[in-house]
């Protein structure tokens, strides 16, 4: 027992505690409930609501459990007459000004104030005076405000200052005139700001898109996983009558903690839009006509069967499709004799794919970043690519980790950045090479990479020193590096840097399941489990540059979701048959698609995503598919049957997953490179560089989520 360990007694029960802990931090893990409003374990202690008053032996007055440090031998009473009296008195004060509008408040039924009023409130009020009224604020399209309900716990204020890193909300005025707000009317813009909805213990801050849609007790809560980035944030979906009405975080300390990005929270709005595809359609005379599943599948099977015999088949899948869909899709492609399959739609450099890792991963667990000594992020607008991962980096930076960037100018980070080495993307390769030179100088070790090290600047030296400063350092390549036309070279150089300094080497995989796509073999050169194929097929670039005879496209819109954009559409027009599996009817599809089969969104299908630390996270369908849409894996299964192929006898997604995993076997993450590619001084022009991803433009679902499209971030990045 160290000096810091002490004993206290709570309601007569002995408990061990550490010096410096507050009473509530000891009672919470022990399951002794103390009421509270302002205390939150992820925020600083404000101790301003006084709901947590407890009795402490020898203390003349009740003490706030959230702000009273424990001392050895302390005796705490949470339910004594004095404690209860103090809690009741606090409640009475809190209710003086709180409106009695629970029947029209969205928080009703899940309100901390309502719950505690049930436990500690009086049934009649002793106050006849008028209650105070506070004007509502317009803080943007995501969060609704009913400020009269605010009890001034300041959780929302502390969230913006401490978690988001940019204080956007504040306490204005004082005394009876105190209000929470922004002073000048403006929106609260941070990409995690929706979390204030969960933090607000009353109905003052609520979800604006969800406003008046349902009562909390009418909905069902089911676990699911975010489809938007490769952290795989855990979610709860709230549904009523089979419709997804709301998304909230499902705490998971290893991944998203208690937070989710606004993208994860509000994208569901894109599920129910006017352009949702409700039946299969086929193109006749320049327009899409609805048809039934049997006809549509028959037509697709016939054409694909023909192509298999005497033509080339190209298969492209979104990296955000489920592992089950990925697996069945590649199976279908390969059973039809084609290795032309890929999910790397944004990639511009797919040469050197022998050096691909078995599956791209972060190189470390998400939570590990928090205790890093140093991190180097290369080519990533990480706040927009993976907001929740950016939050981890922020925590690390605040705790003293040295966070370094090698990035284009202008990405803002709301935490101490050790070195932000600015470079135009076209110069990323020479910059990285110079950094390698700096690392060699610092470590005294030479890399075999044959390339002129170029001019080493102070910034490079500072980054090199930083990476050597401790034994927990990480190098991470973001989307701007993995989508770069010189990606394979960047990868080789970064891997060398990581090797020389003893850092982990990692990637930010695209979308939510790029790792799963690699595992399932949705690449032209490898079968499930990463086994090499005898004759690699054509990759995404090749398939989108020169037409195959027929295509199967799963879950993406070429003009937005591929590196080629409009040019991809031109190529697809040259095919004689294109079938899309999609959830929405994209008007430009008329230019190239012959048949579109409606599939469910992430909410309407069971499936599995593999995140950036290699975890397979399975979930079940939470909502009824819209119209005649069907889960993608079912559509692919039936297609397999129609084509009279073997091994498409699955009854549910779990069976597909089991089959996939049997095929995949054990895959170990490994980002090392077998042999370095030639790094010559390739010249790139700024015009051919990838654009930073639009935070609310990354996939078809997000693009259709109207609340997100109304945010400032969406408007600011609209031209990308």
């Amino acid at each position: 027992m160290s000096d810091d360990d002490i004993k206290i007694e709570v309601n007569g029960v002995p408990m061990s505690a550490r010096k410096g802990q507050m009473i509530i931090q000891v009672t919470d893990p022990a399951g002794v409930y103390i009421p509270r409003f302002c205390y939150h374990d992820k925020l600083s202690i404000a101790a301003n609501c006084r709901m947590c008053l407890v009795e402490v032996e020898k203390a003349p007055k009740p003490l706030p459990a959230c702000a009273t440090p424990v001392t050895d031998g302390m005796k705490v009473f949470t339910k004594s007459a004095a404690a209860i009296a103090a809690q009741k008195a606090t409640m009475e004060f809190l209710l003086i000004n709180h409106p009695l509008d629970c029947p029209i408040c969205d928080q009703g039924g899940e309100c901390e104030l309502q719950d505690l009023a049930m436990g500690f409130g009086r049934d009649v009020s002793r106050y006849n005076e008028r209650k105070r009224v506070v004007a509502d604020k317009d803080i943007g399209p995501l969060v609704s405000t009913d400020m009269t309900r605010c009890i001034h716990c300041t959780r929302c204020v502390r969230f913006t200052e401490e978690i988001a890193g940019l204080q956007e909300l504040g306490t204005l005025g004082r005394g009876e005139n105190m209000e929470i707000g922004t002073y000048i009317e403006r929106s609260v813009d941070h990409e995690l700001s929706g979390n204030v909805i969960d933090l607000c213990p009353v109905g003052a801050l609520n979800s604006r898109p969800f406003r008046f849609r349902a009562r909390s007790w009418e909905m069902m809560q089911q676990a699911t996983v975010s489809p938007h980035d490769s952290v795989g944030s855990n979610l709860f979906a709230h549904t009523m009558h089979g419709k997804l009405l709301r998304v909230v975080p499902r705490p998971n300390e290893a991944l998203n903690e208690t937070w989710i990005a606004d993208r994860d929270r509000f994208s569901y709005a894109g599920i129910y839009t006017d352009d949702r595809l409700e039946t299969p359609v086929f193109r006749v005379d320049g327009e899409f006509r609805p048809t039934d599943w049997a006809t549509a599948l028959q037509r697709v099977a016939t054409r694909l069967g023909e192509t298999a015999k005497e033509g080339s088949l190209g298969v492209l899948a979104a990296p955000g499709a489920t592992l089950e869909e990925h697996y069945l899709l590649q199976k279908l492609a390969r059973d039809l004799g084609s290795n032309n399959i890929d999910h790397r739609l944004h990639a511009m450099d797919l040469g050197d794919d022998d050096n691909d890792p078995p599956f791209p991963w972060l190189g470390a667990a998400v939570a590990e970043l928090e205790s890093a000594d140093a991190v180097l992020v290369v080519g990533s607008h990480i706040r927009h690519e993976v907001p929740v991962l950016a939050h981890r980096l922020r925590k690390a930076g605040l705790a003293g980790s040295q966070i370094n960037f090698l990035n284009p100018a202008g990405f803002e980070y709301l935490f101490p950045v050790h070195e932000y080495a600015e470079t135009p993307l076209s110069q990323l390769q020479p910059q990285l090479v110079a950094l390698l030179g700096a690392v060699e100088a610092v470590t005294g070790r030479r890399s075999e990479l044959a390339v002129d090290r170029g001019a080493i600047s102070d910034a490079h030296r500072r980054i090199a020193d930083s990476l050597m400063s401790g034994d927990k350092s990480h190098v991470v390549l973001g989307h701007l590096a993995t989508r770069h036309p010189g990606y394979s070279k960047l990868r080789a150089i970064a891997t060398e840097i990581a090797r020389l300094v003893g850092a982990t080497m990692g990637y930010i995989p695209e979308s939510c399941n790029a790792a799963g796509a690699y595992m399932a073999g949705v690449v032209p050169h490898r079968a499930p489990g990463g086994k090499p194929v005898a004759e690699p097929g054509r990759n995404a670039r090749q398939m989108l540059a020169e037409a195959c005879d027929a295509y199967v496209l799963l879950g993406f819109e070429p003009q937005h979701d591929t590196a080629e954009g409009q040019a991809a559409i031109e190529t697809l027009r040259g095919a004689s048959f294109v079938v899309m599996l999609a959830s929405w009817l994209d008007p430009t599809a008329i230019e190239y698609a012959d048949v579109i089969l409606p599939i469910g969104t992430f909410a309407e299908t069971a499936g599995t995503y593999v995140n950036m630390q290699g975890d397979q996270q399975s979930f079940s369908g939470v909502a009824e598919p819209v119209g005649d849409a069907r889960p993608g894996w079912k559509v692919l299964r039936v297609l397999g049957n129609q084509l009279e192929l073997d091994g498409y006898e699955y009854n549910n997604a779990a069976e597909v997953l089991a089959a996939a995993n049997a095929d995949i076997g054990v895959m170990r993450p490994d980002n090392t490179i077998a042999r370095s590619p030639a790094i010559n001084g390739a010249q790139y022009s700024e015009a051919e560089m990838p654009r930073p991803s639009r935070i609310y433009g990354i996939d078809p679902l997000v693009r259709r989520a109207r609340p997100l499209q109304r945010t400032r971030d969406a408007k600011r990045t609209a031209d990308r």
Binding site: E161, E168, G170, Y183
Partner: protein, 167 residues
């Protein structure tokens, strides 16, 4: 890190010097401590009130989020965030003064000028503050403060005399 429009040109050279003088008294990461003095100076130079632009400029100069400056400006009764009359009349309405009849004093001034607390006279001469807490002159309650000068043991008559004298 602030969200202001990155414009400090609103601050006079003198204001900057005063602010920097105060900043120097605090640890480098505690610039926030200088907000009150900064706002006092800036308000003084701007006819007794603060504008959003001025507060943004202070925030920018101190490298703070603008909201932290707004918080201070709206909390303290000595800061005004809109144009007000030239003479600031603050009648203490805290407990001792209240017991000694401050409500009557406030009412008297309101009647005399035809304005409510929180308002200024149309000619821009007088501003009757909305709220003033104990100014530590309770011994001679009720009291008021006009432009930093204390007037004590007030009655409606003495208030009239005092206000006459100011004209």
């Amino acid at each position: 890190m602030s969200v202001s429009n990155k414009d400090t040109s609103q601050l006079s050279e003198h204001a900057r010097q005063v602010i920097d003088h105060w900043v120097a008294k605090f640890p480098p990461d505690k610039k926030r401590s200088a907000v009150i003095e900064a706002l006092r100076t800036v308000q003084h130079e701007n006819n007794g009130y603060l504008t959003a632009e001025l507060m943004d400029a202070v925030a920018e100069h101190l490298d703070l989020p603008t909201i932290q400056v707004y918080e201070v400006a709206t909390f303290y009764s000595m800061f005004e965030t809109r144009p007000v009359g030239r003479c600031h009349i603050s009648v203490c309405t805290n407990i001792a003064c209240h017991l000694r009849g401050s409500a009557e004093i406030v009412e008297h001034i309101e009647k005399r000028f035809g304005i409510k607390t929180g308002e200024s006279t149309p000619d821009g001469k007088f501003y009757l503050k909305r709220e003033e807490e104990c100014l530590a002159a309770c011994v001679n309650a009720p009291m008021m403060m006009i432009d930093h000068v204390y007037y004590e043991n007030l009655t409606p008559e003495t208030v009239d005399q005092i206000l006459e004298g100011l004209k």
